[in-house]
């Protein structure tokens, strides 16, 4: 029999609105415990929620981009359960009428495309944080995160491999970063994914699924999927039955463990949230939001290739970060040399970013200085080697290229007398190479060229040096 793995995922994305979903406390990450808390988000008796309009805007933006139906009338529901991180003992969420339904997102696996169905996107509130003091017999509760807005993106069971899941999350992450609705930092928990996984005989009905939570990196997701696949296969192959349950991934142990049985038999008693009105999104508002959707990575890649003539590979690297794409566009415009700009970013700049472990999404660099350097190198005012060095100086020390070049005398030497002197010096010191060249060895020319450049301190205009070297060598040959 041929078994296949079926996966659907639920992604929780913390929105980067300024204030929380139902109150005016800040959503900023970190800070002292319980310092961003008010009667609403700590569930004080009598307090009431008031919906933040920016949350609705974020949800609609993502829904539109994922091709969802935007439900112009949606409602909120209460999901009831007791846990100390949930101050009201219910979470305001959307069960019966979510804001977006029926969308899709295309992923690319080694060149072949696959469409993953989005069942729904709904709005909900995050819970607080529990701090477990290992030595003491207590749990501490911090409500700073309680009430931070979340979008839950629920996919159809369309995935067949961990690779597909990772590709989907990467695409979704890129989309949300471009929309600027979520920081998408898995380590900080602003992007989380739960995996629903089951195994079936191909073509048969779906098998019993488990849900695995608590993975905080793409790598962990991938490993948790492999682990769960092996676990279920072992059960099935041993003629056992997979039990429906929620499991918790333990990164240190590289294993998942079933959560307490209580949490596996939840009856959440959902019902319409009476403290909030049904949410109505007008045609006008919808159009306004649609207009504010920025150009996304996919569109940018295509445009860079057709408009600027840069390679698909370069466009891919540049568009992986909205910040880098912005940098590229500015540099292309200011330098009027888009291909040169793309090469600079995908080459030297990427190397520097990797070396210095810098963050592509937040990197800032003086684009005017880079554009000036491109101008110099394209017009033969400086050499490639000097160019790279100064880019590095701008990146690390923000030097002023003009001053730097003047101080160090880095401008190209194109004065023929100096070049002739340098060439003669190279030839006289390397008579063996001169002989090799005469014998027809091409490599000898490159060597001599290098020697001449060296005696010019690397600043010689390569075209002129080459011309002079050839001329002198040819004269030599014809004389002999």
């Amino acid at each position: 029999m041929s078994l296949e793995m079926i996966i659907g995922i639920e992604v929780h994305a913390e929105l980067n609105t300024k204030s929380k979903i139902f109150c005016t406390c800040s959503t900023a990450f970190g800070g002292e415990a319980n310092s961003k808390v008010c009667p609403v988000c700590s569930g004080q008796p009598g307090s009431l929620p008031k919906l933040n309009e920016a949350v609705v805007e974020c949800a609609v933006k993502l829904g539109l981009v994922l091709g969802c139906t935007i439900n112009r009338n949606c409602k909120f529901d209460r999901k009831n359960y007791f846990y100390p991180d949930l101050p009201k003992a219910y979470q305001i969420s959307q069960l019966y009428f979510p804001i977006c339904t029926d969308g899709k997102l295309e992923i690319d696996i080694n060149g072949s495309k696959k469409s993953i169905g989005i069942r729904e996107i709904h709005i909900e509130e995050d819970a607080g944080k529990l701090i477990h003091a290992p030595s003491e017999n207590g749990t501490y509760i911090d409500y700073n995160r309680a009430g931070v807005p979340l979008l839950e993106i629920v996919t159809n069971p369309d995935f067949r491999s961990a690779q597909e899941v990772v590709a989907f999350i990467e695409r979704l992450r890129e989309t949300m970063l471009y929309l600027e609705i979520c920081d998408c930092k898995m380590q900080e928990g602003s992007l989380r994914a739960d995996v629903n996984l089951s195994i079936r005989e191909q073509g048969n009905e779906l098998g019993t699924r488990t849900e695995t939570k608590n993975m905080n990196s793409l790598r962990a997701i991938s490993r948790a999927i492999e682990y769960e696949r092996e676990r279920q296969l072992e059960i099935i192959n041993g003629n056992g039955k997979v039990v429906q349950q929620t499991r918790r991934w333990d990164e240190d142990k590289s294993k998942s463990f079933p959560m307490r049985s209580k949490e596996n038999a939840q009856d959440y008693r959902y019902f319409p949230e009476p403290d909030l009105q049904p949410l109505e999104i007008s045609e006008e508002r919808l159009n306004e939001i649609r207009k504010n959707i920025p150009e996304l990575a996919q569109e940018k890649r295509g445009r860079y290739m057709s408009e600027y003539g840069i390679s698909s590979h370069a466009a891919g690297i540049i568009c992986a970060s909205k910040n880098m794409a912005g940098l590229f566009e500015e540099l292309a415009q200011k330098s009027k040399e888009p291909v040169e700009a793309a090469n600079l970013i995908t080459g030297e700049l990427m190397r520097l970013i990797n070396n210095f472990n810098a963050d592509m999404d937040t990197l800032t660099i003086d684009v005017d200085k880079l554009a000036f350097l491109i101008y110099l190198v394209v017009n033969g005012k400086i050499n490639r080697g000097v160019y790279k060095d100064i880019v590095g100086e701008v990146f690390t020390n923000n030097v002023d290229p003009e001053k730097y070049i003047a101080e160090k005398g880095l401008l190209v030497v194109s004065d023929d007398d100096a070049i002739i002197a340098a060439v003669n010096e190279a030839l006289s010191k390397n008579s063996a190479a001169v002989g090799d060249f005469a014998a027809g060895k091409e490599k000898a020319f490159t060597f001599l060229m290098g020697q001449a450049m060296k005696s010019l301190g690397g600043k010689g205009d390569p075209v002129s040096v080459k011309r002079v070297l050839l001329k002198v060598l040819n004269e030599k040959n014809s004389c002999e």
Binding site: N34, V37, S42, K50, F82, N137, T139, Y140, I141, Q277
Partner: protein, 95 residues
């Protein structure tokens, strides 16, 4: 419908309440009585009600995305049965 011990205990579990035996007996009988009265509703024809009924039909009212200062932490923690200087404290949750 009969409200048996199993259902009552399930409701206690959902409600996070543990009743004493005496209370359980009483509430069991009361609920059976009350729910019997509610079963009258099954006779009511509600087929004309649209699926998405917006019960009170009031206007959506949203808030601007603005931050105002939060409450002082000592106020938030003031009524807690157990707290330290920064957080609420409960017996250790088991994972």
């Amino acid at each position: 419908m009969v409200i048996d011990e199993k259902l009552i205990k399930y409701l206690e579990d959902l409600s996070f309440i543990i009743l004493s035996n005496e209370e359980r007996g009483r509430i069991c009988a009361d609920l059976e009585n009350i729910i019997a009265g509610m079963e009258l509703l099954s006779k009511l024809d509600t087929s004309s009600i649209p699926k998405q009924d917006l019960s009170l039909n009031l206007k959506t009212d949203l808030r601007k995305d603005e931050v105002t200062p939060s409450f002082p932490r000592n106020e938030i923690l003031k009524n807690a049965p157990k707290a330290n200087a920064e957080t609420f404290v409960v017996p250790k949750t088991v994972e």
